[in-house]
Amino acid sequence: MKTISRILAFCFLAVMAFSCKKSFLERAPISNANAENFFKTKADFDLAVNAAYNSLYTTYHPEGPVSYVSEQMSDNAIVYNISGIEADKWAFKDYALRPNNTMLYQFWQECYKGLYNINVVLSKIDGAEVEAAYKEGVKAELMFLRGLQYFNLVRIWGDVPVVLTPLTGEESYAVSRSTQADVYAQIIKDVQFAAEKLPLQSKITVKGKASKGAAQTLLGKIYITMGDKAKAATVLTEVVNSKEYDLLPTYAALWGGNVKNTKESIFEIQHIGGNPANPYSRYHQGFFPNTNIFQFYGGGMNQVTDDLWNEYETGDVRQDISISKGYQNGNVFVAQKFPKKWLDANAVVQGGTAYASNNFMVLRYADALLMLAEATGNAASLNLVRARAGMPLFGTASYPTAKYPTLELAIEHERRVELALEFHRWFDLKRTNRAIPVLSAKGKAITQDKLLVPVPEIVRQQNPVITQNKGY
């Protein structure tokens, strides 16, 4: 009886112990950090800034919005057999995009997820107890990234909602699409701030982070897209005069798994290969034909058209450096052209994936020079690019003037071959108002409305204040 009384007493005590212990129900997550305690120290912000840069991987993914739109909607690329949700991927090349296209919705989500990762840092940094210079540096970097993100959004969708701070669900219903002009105004504000505050490329210790030159070159691209050639010329001239950049001696030197952050590179997305835990480079695999003879599954995206292949002048070394003519499969050569620029011969291949190291250049000096030629009407910088490729200079007798009689056409041609498959073509054709004439001449079903893609239907179902683009 005594024992039993003791047991009972113990049980009651146990009950009381739990009742009193309020913390029994308070469980901190074990394998994730709680965001409440974050954004305090410099180390926290470093981590969060890296996460903001990570959004470049989705935006510039070989199966990302910029890749699909810039190449597949242009005359450079096509897709045949691919994996995944084929019909929705094929729709880009055929201008058959519908508002229920799942790829478009995924791109929309990813773009704004990236913007959230940027905005959340910008919203916390001002109140944080970190040194002022650090604050300013972080803000400049993130405003560069934000400007770049909106620049892509506005070029793809036209009017888009502009979000500059983290929004709650309730707040977000009030945000409708801003006009393209307003979006551009915001982009310029961000990128100008970045251009003022960011250090020169040579002063940057952590390679790959945004520099003054990157912001200026982006600004040049934004101005030229808006049609403001004078401002573009000014800012691009500053880039040239900074002497921070130069063309590499050969075109071939630009490419390879170990070629990173060269003198020609202005803004470059950083990858590390080797294993799946690293942010490895997906371009070669993504652009390899949809087969797996090399142990990895080729994504089959952005297969190269004969039209692009034929754009190269005879003897242009850039043709073979940029494009593979096909691949050998056993005794058979399969003639299907695909991009070659991001081949990493030393990539570790494991479990169907090639863990390549190639970086991806978003902005490079050749691009800046060609934009400068376009902005100023001076062929000199165009000819720097041609000279490096070993091709006859514009204005000389051996230049194919019959084919490209004007400087504008010469630049259009040069951009296509020099920057082939680097996610420029569609945007170049659009900003020069050449998309419809050029593409319809090649039999593509392009119309004015197709220059913008539709707003995903889910976005509009969630919030009816979001309007649709014309023609969808």
């Binding site: 029994f24 890296n50 508002p99 229920n100």
Partner: protein, 1055 residues
């Protein structure tokens, strides 16, 4: 001779019995006697209780001896299932008596939450299924045997692999985002998402299903999906029984998917290429040679010049499926004395799966003991230990063995001339097909024989309790329970997989393990009081429960050869990770049961739950319930209504909750995945915010109103129960889609309302009674599910996974299939010109209905094209018995639901050269050969919305199934008289005997997606879509595992 053995045995038992009882009673007046049943047979295990306190239990031969009985004392004889009798012992010293079996089962005890009730006193909606109803069924999970037997409970076998738990829906589906599985309560321990395969059905005494909210409300925040209570067996005092059983079974896939043979497929392949080539225009002709075609339009010369060489080709289903044996052996010992009762059991199940190289082996051990320490104190311990070793492939849908096997092209042989599996063998003549990017072979053996894998699962569930009678009627009970689950899985891929897979991969291996500990302490006070006509039972309790889950995994590659498969032999490691999560819960509960004259019943209960999962501001919730019952047939005015033997009305209202959300759903978390960056060759770590916080997150609440009646009439031969319920779920835990411009697609919020209304009928008729008995059990249930309110602006929720879209909108049931309507096939260009169509449409493409009549085919022409929820379900079981022979047959039916055959995405239109459903043979080929008007033309580009989700994918899921046929024969005692065997039965049990259905895949119950749950260990396909709960895609079959026919032969005997 046999008499001698019997006598010896009897003598031994009596001796044991005498020894055990000797010390209990003092030696005074003694009463002896024999207790028999109505037919004069001995009745063991009857409690004989003297008024003054002495008691004993009758021996196996029905005799008893009770000492310490004063003269003239009255004795009460009672036993479960028999009407108790009280007689005066007088001075005779001997009493012989016969007890009558209880006329009805109303005095049967039903297990309810935290206690038991007589059936008569049940005022909610509780169904009790006893061991007899599933004892011969061959399932490893007891709920599988309940399918089609319980009104209001829809149990569907989503996949047929051994050990696959069914999806259980009690009274419809109450949540969109939160988990939808009922709470499992095993010997009093509430366990979320518990795998019932861990409990051997042969050890189970009864299964109770608490359907209505008033019954489930005592489980508070976990009761909204209903509760299933499992009670394991305990020996009965007075008799030790050794039971042994053995079963041998054979399993077979009896219903295959009709696929094209090699000739049909080659013709399809040629048509697709030629049509696509001609579609390019510019005068291209179907007869153009390969030399003028780009690679993806080329056709193998073999197909054109000599297709006959391929014959009918290979039927990959015949390759991967086999007739598989299973064995199940079981031994248990149970018995006890007045003071101690026990059950020890062990069983071993060894089941080969119908799928090549797959198996399921289970060992279970159980020890249940209850001991009376003193008149006031009882203690007990239930302990179950289970180990399962299995290899299960084919349940992951689209990219698992079964689906891939069906997709494989029939032209390839099972073995090539080198004895290898596939055309990727560089030394094989078949290697010539490698240059075509649109040939497919995922040889089943490349996955079952060139991948080694095994899962091992261990589960220990123990409950120790102490009961203390403080004063008469007041009992304190305290229990401590622990559920410890461990699992380990190993996986090794052989280099090149016999050349049978879609690519040649290097060898790789992975290993993973998980750990789960759930502990619970429950402390309850129970007060029973009878005064006059009043009867009162009060329960109050306090419980605390905690669970911790841990998991770790690693994988390796770079194995030198296939000799050593453990990770140490690898040279590169990746995917190394581990994680842990926890939840905790505190609860207070109370219930009052009152009845007057055993005629008017009233019950009220409340539970207060606090959970770590919820927002700090909303951690606690109250779950009240009320119910009442009235036994009308006991009223005086009914006394003369002879037709009605029993009639009870029940009404209840209660509120229960759903807490099945992720453990840290209320907190904003940081994550490291997709957050890192790099600089040159240096990795830069990152952290990003992955979820939005919601401090106001709280319980999902379901309130349900239930009315029903139980009735017996025509001399107790007809037994009818009916229930009507209306339940409203509010504050639904919904991953509300929020505008993506927030950076998030959804936020877990309490929003929205949903309704489930339904009718349930259960009817049992004893059609013939006597030596020959014929009983019919019928159940019928109907549930109507309707969404009443959703997030801001009631915006519909559309989830899409691989083209299949499900739409949840106000006024409709949850998860309607949402797609285009195909009204046949355009026969010619003239028809196309005369109807709205997509610009890419060509003759032979589908006629897409212009649903909104705007003259254009756009996304707005998609509409609701079906829903998986059936209009009604039912089951009929007929049982015939004659002496020792018993035959029963069960029909199960489901009517009015639809199923999405997501394999249409691979097998219904051109998808890079996969094999096709044989129905596609009847496709449109030309204006002169328009086919069956359903199957559109072959082409590579899927023109005219061919590939869009449409009613072409949706089929009628109605079916009638001969679910079970059972023949059992109890050997006559005469035959066994020479042996120590007693109660020996032999039986044949057949499951899934025949399916009547038009569905073109294996089974209209197939669902490849899991029911939503937030626990580890789920097996099935998770949607790839962002934040979509897998349960949203129930009713979508993406290449599921067929449910085989299983025939078992068994023998069971008692010693």
């Amino acid at each position: 001779m046999n008499f001698k053995i019997y006598k010896t045995f009897k003598g031994l038992l009596l001796l044991t019995f005498a020894l055990l009882t000797l010390q209990v009673f003092a030696q005074t007046g003694e009463v002896t006697g024999k207790i028999t049943d109505e037919k004069g047979g001995p009745l063991p295990g009857v409690t004989v209780q003297a008024k003054s306190g002495a008691s004993t239990i009758s021996a196996p031969d029905g005799t008893f001896r009770l000492r310490n009985v004063p003269a003239g004392e009255s004795l009460t004889f009672s036993s479960v299932g028999y009407t108790a009798k009280t007689v005066n012992a007088g001075n005779k010293g001997t009493v012989s008596i016969s007890l009558d079996a209880t006329a009805s089962t109303l005095n049967d005890v039903v297990v309810v939450g935290y206690g038991t009730q007589t059936k008569k006193a049940v005022t909610g909606s509780v169904v009790s299924v006893g061991f007899d109803r599933f004892k011969d069924r061959s399932f490893s999970n007891v709920t599988q045997a309940l399918a089609g037997q319980v009104a209001g409970v829809n149990i569907t076998q989503a996949q047929g692999a051994p050990g696959q738990s069914p999806i259980i829906r009690i009274r419809g589906i109450s949540s969109i985002t939160a988990g939808t599985n009922p709470l499992m309560v095993v010997d009093g321990v509430p366990l979320e998402n518990f795998n019932l395969n861990m409990i051997n059905p042969q050890d189970i005494e009864s299964v109770e299903v608490l359907k209505d909210a008033s019954s489930a409300a005592i489980y508070g925040s976990r009761g909204a999906n209903g509760v299933i209570i499992i009670t394991t067996k305990l020996g009965k005092a007075g008799r030790s029984t050794v039971s042994a059983g053995y079963e041998y079974g054979i399993q077979k896939v009896t219903r295959k998917v009709n696929m094209m043979d090699a000739q049909q497929w080659i013709q399809y392949y040629i048509d697709a290429h030629n049509n696509a080539w001609v579609d390019l225009g510019g005068g291209r002709q179907a007869g153009d040679p390969n030399s003028v075609r780009p690679s993806n339009y080329k056709i193998p010369e073999d197909f054109i010049t000599n297709p006959a060489q391929f014959g009918k080709g290979t039927d990959w289903q015949d390759v991967m499926f086999r007739t598989a044996p299973s064995q199940n052996a079981q031994v248990s010992v149970s018995g006890g004395t007045d003071k101690t009762q026990f059950l020890f059991s062990t069983a071993y199940l060894s089941q080969d799966a119908v799928l090549d190289r797959n198996y399921y082996k289970r060992l279970t051990l159980r020890s249940n003991i209850r001991h009376k320490v003193s008149e006031k104190v009882n203690v007990g311990l239930n302990l179950g230990v289970t180990a399962i070793y299995d290899r299960t492939d084919g349940t992951q849908g689209k990219s698992d063995v079964i689906s891939l096997g069906i997709q494989s092209d029939p032209i390839f042989p099972v073995y090539n001339e080198n004895g290898n599996l596939g055309y990727r063998d560089p030394n094989s003549v078949w290697n010539r097909f490698i240059s075509y990017g649109d040939m497919n072979l995922w040889h089943p053996y490349s996955l079952t024989r060139f991948i080694d894998k095994q899962n091992k699962s261990f589960n220990t569930l123990g409950t120790g309790f102490l009961e203390y009678s403080i004063i008469k009627g007041l009992k304190f009970r305290s229990s401590i329970s622990a559920n410890l689950a461990n699992s380990k899985n190993d996986f090794y891929v052989f280099k090149n997989q016999g050349y049978g897979y879609s690519s040649l991969l290097n060898s790789s291996a992975s290993t993973g393990n998980s750990f789960m500990l759930n502990w619970l302490t429950e402390n309850t006070l129970n007060y029973d009081k009878h005064f006059g006509d009043h009867s009162l039972n009060i329960l109050a309790g306090y419980t605390a429960q905690e669970q911790r889950d841990e998991a770790a995994g690693a994988s390796a590659a770079g194995f030198a050869n296939d000799l050593v498969q453990t990770l140490n032999a690898g040279t590169t490691y990746n995917g190394v990770s581990s994680f842990a999560t926890e939840w905790s819960m505190l609860s207070y509960l109370s219930r009052v049961n009152y009845n007057f004259k055993n005629k008017y019943f009233l019950s009220g209960a409340i539970r207060r739950d606090g959970s770590s999962r919820f927002g700090s501001q909303r951690r606690w919730g109250y779950f009240p319930s009320m119910s009442a019952g009235w036994v009308v047939s006991d009223e005086d005015f009914m006394k003369n209504v002879n037709a009605i033997n029993f009639l009870k009305f029940r009404a209840s209202y209660g509120m229960s909750g759903n807490n099945q959300i992720p453990n840290y759903g209320a907190i904003s978390l940081l994550g490291a995945s997709n957050a890192n960056y790099a600089s040159g060759g240096t990795l830069l770590n990152g952290q990003s915010v992955t979820t939005i916080p919601n401090e106001l997150l709280r319980w999902e609440k379901t309130s349900q109103f239930n009315i029903g009646f139980d009735m017996r009439f025509l001399k107790n031969r007809v037994n009818l129960s009916a229930d009507f319920y209306n339940s409203i779920t509010k504050d639904m835990l919904l991953n509300v889609p929020i505008p993506d411009i927030t950076g998030f697609s959804t936020q877990l919020t309490n929003i929205g309302r949903m309704q489930n209304r339904g009718v349930e009928l259960a009817l049992t008729t004893k059609n013939v009674v006597g030596d020959f008995n014929w009983t019919t059990d019928v159940n019928f249930s109907l549930n109507r599910n309707k969404v009443l309110q959703l997030g801001p602006g009631n915006a519909p929720i559309i989830y899409t996974d691989y083209a299949v879209a499900v739409k949840t909108e106000v006024g409709q049931p949850i998860s309607n299939f949402y797609g285009y309507v195909f009204d046949g096939v355009f026969k010619n260009q003239k028809e196309i010109d005369g109807y709205p169509h997509d610009a890419t449409t060509k003759p032979g493409d589908p006629i897409v209905r212009d649903v909104n009549n705007d003259g254009k085919i756009t996304g707005d022409d998609r509409t609701n094209i079906g829903n998986y929820q059936p209009d009604f379900i039912g089951g009929i079981t007929n049982t015939f018995s004659y002496k020792g022979l018993e035959v029963s047959a069960m029909l199960q039916g489901s009517f009015g639901g639809e199923i999405t055959n997501q394999n249409v995405r691979y097998l219904g239109w051109w998808n890079n050269g996969r094999n096709m459903f044989s129905g596609v043979v009847n496709r449109w080929r030309s204006e002169a050969e328009p086919g069956d008007g359903k199957h559109f033309r072959a082409t590579l580009a899927n023109t005219g919305l061919q590939s869009q989700y449409s009613n072409y994918w949706v089929e009628d899921a109605s079916f009638v199934r001969i679910k079970n046929i059972r023949i059992s024969y109890t050997l006559p005692e005469k035959l066994l008289a020479r042996t120590p065997l007693k109660n020996t039965r032999i039986y044949i049990n057949a499951e899934n005997v025949h399916l009547f259905s038009k569905y073109i895949n294996y089974d209209p119950e197939n669902t490849t997606y899991n029911a939503t749950s937030y626990s580890a260990g789920a097996n099935g396909l998770a949607p790839s879509g962002i934040q979509a709960p897998s349960g949203a895609f129930i009713g979508v079959d993406y290449g599921s595992y067929p449910v085989p026919r299983i025939i078992t032969f068994g023998i069971k005997t008692d010693l």
